[in-house]
């Protein structure tokens, strides 16, 4: 299809702003419209996988326990912020902010699996779904008669995704896991943070990375399987993702180097073993010294990137140290551990009486790449992310105005979108049960009275 004439003549910036315009998202079709996902998942790993599909327009039904819902609803920083109500049965309780990000656009069904009627409902849902995601202990659903093998008999086109800690097989299969265990035992801690000799210790990635990222590659795999099912084979699939596996995938070159040389890679703080100068400098002054928030009183930090030879020359000129430019003229002179630990303190001397904005400005003025370390307030108030729809003030049907993250990627013709952040526990019971199971109003009321839903 030829591009519209007016689009053709625009500048590139205008062209991008037109085709990716976030205001037009709802005028465009959805990729997964008509695909149904049943997600019986808790915490982050499983829910986020289903959420990525829901963002693309899949009808995602989240099944959780009645009344209190899943544990993530009760997880919120310092137990302070909550969104009310939790459910129609508990109007005085709220959902914690930990629930954000992993549950947009979903329909919420509450179901108590321990009762036989609930299993009947699950079987009915499974017969009508394209994707089934679960993260119960491996083999539990199989025992209950709603596992991958039973699904395949009823609905051979279903893509069954199991996600969890250590996987369903192998010596550690019975071990429990959390995101942070994946990071710790998978080796991610050991290479993040400062070295012991610099007073540092192995550090956690601030996000629940193994969960959210694991959900993302599971979602990718599901999309690939949908493609294979619809265009090639007509067959469903059984997929397994183990949380601890993600960590080894992230360790890329560290594993290869260990295998070749036996060297166990260590932490190098805010510097970069591969490139120099490409590190984060401590600036001596705070940008907001009079703020009441201790986060803003902190001194600033700024990334400075000048690893190419001429950039490094410019940098040395800027800090007025021609001797450094001469001594470390080539990249191989600079990148060694000794050279790096000698260069950065000199750069930090330059930054010692400046705020991060001042360092950033000085670098930009001299044609050097830099980026101040921003906190979540500085990011949230930046126009860039709002314009691109990455961050948005969402007028949520249940909770009103909330600031939330949008989809991570932009598609010009079939964009992903956030329609609602989440809903209370069991908000869509009537809709789901009458639509997919054909239950009458009195039957649903009966199930509710028996505390099955």
């Amino acid at each position: 299809m030829a591009i519209d004439k007016s689009l053709k003549d625009m500048t590139f910036e205008d062209y991008c702003r037109t085709v990716f315009n976030t205001k037009n998202r709802y005028d465009k079709p959805e990729v997964l419209k008509g695909i149904r996902v049943v997600s019986t998942t808790q915490y982050i790993l499983g829910p986020s996988c289903a959420a990525y599909l829901a963002e693309l327009g899949a009808e995602t039904i989240k099944v959780e326990l009645p009344k209190r819902g899943e544990p993530m609803r009760h997880t919120t920083p310092f137990n302070e912020p909550f969104l009310y109500p939790l459910s129609r049965w508990m109007p005085d309780k709220g959902t914690g902010l930990g629930f954000f990000g992993a549950n947009p656009n979903e329909y919420f069904l509450s179901l108590d699996f321990h009762k036989p009627e609930a299993i009947q409902i699950m079987k009915r849902l499974a017969a009508k779904t394209d994707v089934f995601a679960e993260n119960y202990r491996a083999g539990t659903f199989d025992r209950w008669g709603i596992g991958a093998r039973q699904h395949a008999q009823v609905n051979p086109r279903v893509i069954y995704q199991w996600m969890g800690g250590f996987g369903g097989w192998g010596p550690g299969r019975n071990r429990a896991s959390y995101d942070i265990l994946g990071q710790a035992q998978g080796g991610c801690f050991s290479i993040t943070g400062w070295h012991k000799e610099y007073g540092g210790m192995p550090s956690k990635q601030t996000i629940w990375i193994m969960d959210y990222w694991g959900g993302a590659i599971s979602a990718f795999n599901i999309l690939a399987c949908l493609y294979w099912r619809d265009n090639v084979s007509g067959k469903g699939n059984f997929l397994e993702y183990s949380q601890v596996h993600g960590a080894q995938r992230h360790l890329t070159d560290f594993i290869s180097i260990y295998g070749k040389t036996g060297v166990v890679p260590q932490r190098f703080g805010n510097f970069e073993p591969l490139l120099c100068v490409h590190g984060i400098l401590k600036c001596g002054k705070s940008s907001y010294p009079n703020s009441k928030n201790p986060q803003e009183q902190e001194v600033g930090f700024c990334l400075v990137s000048a690893y190419k030879d001429d950039d490094f020359q410019k940098l040395c000129k800027m800090i007025n140290r021609p001797d450094l430019a001469k001594k470390y003229a080539t990249h191989s002179d600079r990148v060694g551990a000794d050279a790096q630990t000698a260069i950065y303190p000199e750069l930090e001397k330059f930054a010692a009486d400046k705020t991060k904005e001042e360092v950033d400005k000085a670098c930009k003025a001299n044609g050097i790449l830099s980026q101040p370390v921003w906190n979540s307030k500085e990011v949230a108030s930046n126009e860039h992310w709002h314009m691109r729809g990455t961050l948005q003030w969402l007028d949520d049907p249940t909770f009103g105005d909330v600031l939330t993250q949008g989809p991570a990627y932009q598609l010009s013709d079939t964009p992903a979108r956030v329609r609602w952040a989440f809903k209370p526990v069991g908000a869509d019971n009537e809709y789901i049960l009458s639509k997919l199971c054909g239950y009458s109003g009195s039957k649903i009321a009966d199930l509710e009275q028996k505390e099955i839903i």
Partner: protein, 475 residues
């Protein structure tokens, strides 16, 4: 402090044992003593998904062709790895002389690089993301190079690039121009912060630019009061996460094309936005009451107990937020030090799950916990906690990770015997599945190894033409 750093000269020589130093456990050892009913499910999953049967199974993206034109950045390579692991034909289009990442190696040490049969040395960072990919060289700054690209484009499904914003559009090979040649083309731009908008990328931006610009670095590391600073991730985290999201974006576009759209589209994904999407509750919290997410070291703001704390020989992770696990953890501690169990379990302020979350309660919990862990090695603590089925484990270093029996048995780390580079230890594909598993077939190619194959096959260039292009600096 620099003087304290172990200098280059004093580096010890290490005797390298072949991996695995200790053989992986056998099936009989793993399932010894497990009753038939429980064993049955595990054995079924194992027979369904074990990687050794991969070669007999189909690949879900077989027949899809991806051009990875990114250079000097990991996000594009990471994205195309998803496609190559699942069977797509991924061709890396590198500038003549190769992608600059090929030359990168920690601290510039050549002994960490891998040498191919033709003598080319390639850094491990590049090599681990060159899995199952072909390599061609093409100079897109020349007119002939662009003409050659346009010859290939009608046969390509997905194109990935990371040129400075608008650069390829100016050169006549942007989405606007290429979609006229091939309307079914999915054209993806990847980068750090974006190709449009007030903060669009400067040429040359690399991770951790994205980490710093979206709040990750500020939130990682210990609080100031604990002597900490903002900390970047030890690997190019934003590139990895952004790469995965860009793969989802491209895959969604591909699926949409086949399903109803019938045409390709323009896709964009950035490293920073990938992590903005997944950085928990930062934005909701900021929007609600203006809170800035603080650094909280190896503890968690929203769950207690859920942390990595020091022990006798390193750090140990213990996790158990809700009551069932909470009491099991303290029961374990109480076996050695009943006074600690008593101190916590009798504290009325720690009785309800939600009451344990404020900062001073977390300090109390972990101080008490460390009284127990400080005399325990990682292994002792882990064994004691595992006996009560509590999620726990020591902080492992790379050697321990590669030798961890569970990972070895499941093949999370594997040796690929490559045609070019010999035996390379590598992190395996994360796509484990019954019918269409991901797999690693070869590790990587030397610079431009597939020039002849690809250009003859896809562009119909004959041998004289190739020689002329080579002389002219086009390939």
């Amino acid at each position: 402090m620099a003087e304290k750093w172990r200098t280059e000269k004093k580096r010890p020589t290490i005797k390298v044992l072949p991996w695995p130093a200790i053989p992986a456990p056998t099936v009989d050892e793993v399932y010894a003593g497990v009753d038939e009913k429980r064993k049955e499910y595990s054995l079924w999953v194992e027979s369904a998904v074990r990687q050794q049967f991969n070669a007999d199974k189909p690949e879900s993206l077989d027949g899809i062709r991806v051009l990875d034109m990114t250079a000097n950045m990991e996000i594009g390579h990471w994205c195309s790895s998803h496609f190559s692991e699942l069977g797509a034909e991924v061709i890396m289009v590198e500038p003549p002389g190769g992608d600059p990442i090929r030359k990168l190696t920690p601290f510039g040490r050549e002994e960490y690089m891998f040498q191919s049969k033709n003598g080319e040395k390639v850094g491990a960072r590049y090599l681990s993301e060159a899995r199952n990919k072909f390599s061609v060289t093409l100079n897109l700054e020349t007119e002939q190079g662009r003409a050659l690209l346009k010859k290939i484009i009608p046969q390509v499904d997905i194109l990935i690039e990371n040129a400075p914003p608008g650069h390829y559009d100016k050169l006549g090979i942007g989405y606007r121009q290429l979609s006229e040649i091939n309307p079914r083309l999915i054209y993806m731009w990847v980068g750090q912060r974006g190709q449009w908008g007030p903060l669009k990328d400067d040429a040359g931006n690399l991770d951790p630019t994205a980490q710093c610009s979206m709040g990750f670095t500020h939130g990682t590391g210990a609080p100031v009061s604990f002597g900490g600073t903002p900390t970047r991730s030890g690997w190019w985290l934003c590139d990895h996460v952004g790469g995965t999201f860009s793969a989802i974006g491209a895959m969604a576009a591909l699926y949409a094309r086949e399903r109803f759209l019938g045409k390709g589209q323009f896709v964009e994904c950035t490293a920073a936005e990938g992590v903005i999407r997944i950085i928990d509750y930062n934005w909701a919290w900021q929007g609600m009451d203006g809170s800035i997410r603080p650094r909280y070291g190896n503890w968690d703001l929203a769950i207690n107990i859920y942390a990595v704390n020091p022990c006798a020989d390193g750090q140990i992770m213990v996790g158990g937020g809700h009551d069932r696990l909470w009491f099991r953890i303290w029961r374990t501690v109480g076996k050695d030090k009943p006074e600690l169990e008593q101190h916590i379990c009798e504290d009325p302020k720690l009785r309800v799950v939600t009451d344990r979350l404020p900062h001073y309660m977390q300090v109390e919990t972990y101080t008490t916990m460390c009284e127990w862990t400080k005399d325990k090695t990682r292994n002792e603590a882990e064994t004691a906690l595992q006996a009560e089925e509590v999620a726990s484990g020591g902080v492992s270093f790379l050697d321990e990770v590669c030798e961890f029996p569970h990972y070895k048995y499941r093949g999370h780390v594997e040796i690929v015997d490559d045609l070019n580079f010999g035996k390379v230890l590598i992190g395996a594909s994360g796509f484990i599945g019954m019918n269409t598993p991901g797999r690693i077939k070869w590790v990587g190619r030397t610079t431009g190894q597939d020039n002849e194959d690809v250009f003859r096959r896809l562009a119909g260039i004959d041998r004289e033409g190739l020689t002329a292009f080579k002389k002219g600096g086009v390939i």
